[in-house]
């Protein structure tokens, strides 16, 4: 298409094709987000209503070391989850991508099957696996590996296990896509040039699959940062992550303004992280 009229029709068609998605996002994402943003500057009225005051007080309150500790804890848990998912997910994705085509389909099904069941139900299933008289302990004791049951449920370890379990597919799928596109001849070339296995991995595979690694890490880090069912059920609500704090403020204390401010600080953390990464020259692909 070379003529200016052709360009115009093209632009118009693009606009029409984008319109439904943009309208949807504007109406159901941007608009509610703006409302939450406005509420974050309001105050809580006596019976849990929202009073329009336009004060930064909620954000000031959040600077409290107590609340900062909740953010820090959430970030640490989310980072740990991302790290474990990457370590577990990469070899799995590599294996899947290198398997014969017929097997790739089966592996994909196996990775996706857990999504067929509600996350809450699966979390309850984990409670049964991890409890003192649960399957894991019974099996380990039965096999003579240990004598007394280990108490895993209601601990940070249980939360970590639950989060890794929940978000592992989000790591595996983008990694699989990236590794599958990897040109095999480049690996052979590296070998031909006497690169040892480790060097092939760090200097060829990792750089070439970096977009997949980044996508996977983001897809795991962001939702685990806001997790709240897992810390409540597997952690026994003995501690809080930001998700629990926001839910608590919104529903129990009915302090929507503080809850909204906490949500925006959470979003700011994520956006700042992405922006910092982009500045460092990260997301190219």
């Amino acid at each position: 298409m070379t003529g200016s009229s052709g360009l115009r029709t093209d632009a118009r068609r693009t606009a029409w094709l984008l319109a439904p998605a943009l309208a949807w996002m504007g109406l159901f994402f941007v608009l509610p987000l703006m409302v939450v943003f406005l509420i974050s500057f309001a105050t809580r009225s006596a019976y849990g209503g929202v009073e329009w005051a336009f004060t930064p007080a909620n954000y000031r309150d959040l600077a409290d070391p107590l609340y900062l500790r909740i953010y820090l804890r959430s970030c640490v848990m989310a980072l740990a989850t991302t790290g474990v998912c990457l370590v577990l997910g990469f070899p799995l994705a590599y294996h899947m991508a290198r398997a014969p085509a017929r097997w790739q389909g089966i592996w994909l099904v196996l990775v996706l099957i857990p999504f067929w069941t509600n996350f809450l139900v699966r979390t309850y299933a984990w409670m049964n696996l991890l409890r003192a008289d649960g399957l894991l302990n019974t099996a380990l004791i039965g096999a003579g590996v240990m004598r007394a049951p280990v108490e895993i449920l209601y601990s940070d370890l249980a939360v970590l296990i639950g989060l890794v379990y929940g978000y592992l597919p989000f790591m595996v799928l983008p990694l699989y896509a990236a590794i599958e596109r990897l040109d095999r001849s480049l690996l052979e070339a590296a070998r031909d040039l006497y690169a040892p296995g480790w060097a092939v991995f760090t200097r060829v595979i990792v750089p070439l699959t970096k977009p997949g690694i980044i996508a996977g890490c983001l897809l795991v880090f962001i939702p685990s940062l806001g997790a709240y069912i897992t810390p409540d059920l597997l952690g026994g609500a003995r501690s809080m992550m930001i998700g629990n704090f926001i839910q608590h403020e919104y529903l129990v204390v009915r302090d929507w303004p503080l809850g909204s401010a906490a949500s925006f600080v959470l979003m700011a953390i994520v956006v700042a992280g992405l922006w910092g990464y982009q500045r460092a020259g990260g997301v190219r692909a």
């Binding site: 006596a46 099904v109 996706l112 067929w116 008289d133 983008p174 990694l175 699989y176 896509a177 026994g236």
Partner: protein
């Protein structure tokens, strides 16, 4: 992102995989949707009067609803919620169309203050005139202008008498180091603070920051002994022996007794919370006449007695007392005895002191 790329890739490579991937994709999306509310019935026929009842899950016998439908020719559509907060949030966000809802006493107060409730006509609900003594005047709505107490109970301690042979009589047992890791507390800031405030000889509705601070210190002391803070499944923990002491509502403890007969329930001597779930009509109801008829039906002594036996919560209807089976009536987890009735306390709004409770609760969780 990578997700979509992978499926696109599959399509270009092998049509069989593309089909499979698409099915998987749709299936995963469907699995993420919340499950349909249980108990929801098919849409009623046009022209038939319909009552929309919004209640706790498993809070009404289906046969009782069918009886009401037969008596009145109306259709009852049930929808369920799992917490007072969820109920309020739905009502506040403008969800209308419900005719009868069942908030707990403290939530009735909030809803009244926010003008969400319709005034009742006592003449249309004669069965609400005969209430048991403890509920005849509800502090939040003493004249029952907006609410009719329906089911009620206490918040006490369920314990396993095969492990704790001498029956405890005080909240102090929840601080007993011998039961470290075998204690569950409600995941509810006001109730958990309530337990320690009563132990300290204070009201659970204290607004004194110094008192709340002292209570928090006691809770921090207790935290190492607590296995979990849960409001949902302490009865299962008790029945499976994972905890031997559970802070919680009597009803679930009574249900745990059926699974494990050594489970017992006490209302501590320092006093405990009394609560009532109340039948109210939202202001937005389009069928208030039918709604009052329904409330009157649920408060009928026979219907109320059957409900009480089924759910193992006490009925507010005085007439029902005579009909409830002795085994249920003598169960202190369901019907508190005379001695307990003397020192029960309602949970009231604490105004700005809620911030102190909230802060203390967050500190407890983050230590």
């Amino acid at each position: 992102m990578g997700f979509r790329i992978s499926h696109y890739h599959q399509i270009t490579k092998s049509p069989k995989h593309a089909w499979l991937a698409a099915v998987l994709c749709v299936a995963s999306l469907l699995a993420c949707q919340p499950a349909p509310e249980d108990g929801r019935k098919p849409a009623p026929k046009a022209g038939q009067a319909t009552l929309y009842y919004f209640t706790w899950s498993d809070y009404v016998g289906p046969e009782l609803l069918e009886e009401f439908e037969r008596q009145t020719g109306a259709k009852v559509v049930v929808d369920t919620f799992s917490s007072n907060e969820e109920l309020l949030a739905k009502l506040q966000s403008g969800a209308s169309g419900y005719d009868v809802i069942v908030p707990s006493d403290f939530m009735v107060a909030v809803m009244m203050k926010q003008g969400l409730l319709a005034e009742l006509d006592p003449a249309k609900i004669p069965n609400a005139q005969q209430l048991v003594g403890a509920l005849a005047t509800l502090p939040v709505d003493p004249e029952h202008r907006f609410s009719v107490p329906y089911l009620w109970g206490t918040v006490g301690i369920g314990y396993d008498s095969s492990v704790i042979p001498t029956p405890p009589d005080s909240w102090a047992v929840l601080w007993d180091k011998r039961y470290e890791g075998k204690i569950s507390m409600l995941n509810d800031q006001r109730e958990v603070f309530g337990a320690v405030l009563r132990l300290m000889g204070q009201s659970m509705n204290s607004r004194d920051p110094a008192v709340i601070e002292a209570a928090k210190a006691r809770l921090l002391e207790q935290k190492p002994l607590v296995k979990t803070y849960t409001s949902d499944h302490f009865d299962q923990l008790l029945a499976s022996g994972e905890v031997v002491l559970a802070h919680g509502w009597g009803g679930p403890v009574a249900r745990a007794m059926a699974l494990k007969p050594s489970i017992k329930y006490i209302v501590p001597k320092e006093g405990a919370t009394i609560w009532a779930d109340c039948l109210v009509i939202p202001r937005t109801s389009r069928n208030k006449e039918l709604a009052m008829q329904f409330i009157n039906y649920l408060m009928d002594r026979d219907v109320a007695a059957r409900t009480s036996e089924r759910l193992l919560f006490a009925s507010a209807s005085r007439g029902a007392m005579a009909l409830v089976a002795a085994g249920v009536q003598n169960n202190p987890a369901v019907y508190p005895d005379e001695a307990a009735l003397g020192h029960l306390e309602w949970m009231l709004d604490v105004g700005d002191a809620l911030r102190s409770y909230d802060r203390g609760w967050t500190e407890l969780k983050m230590k």
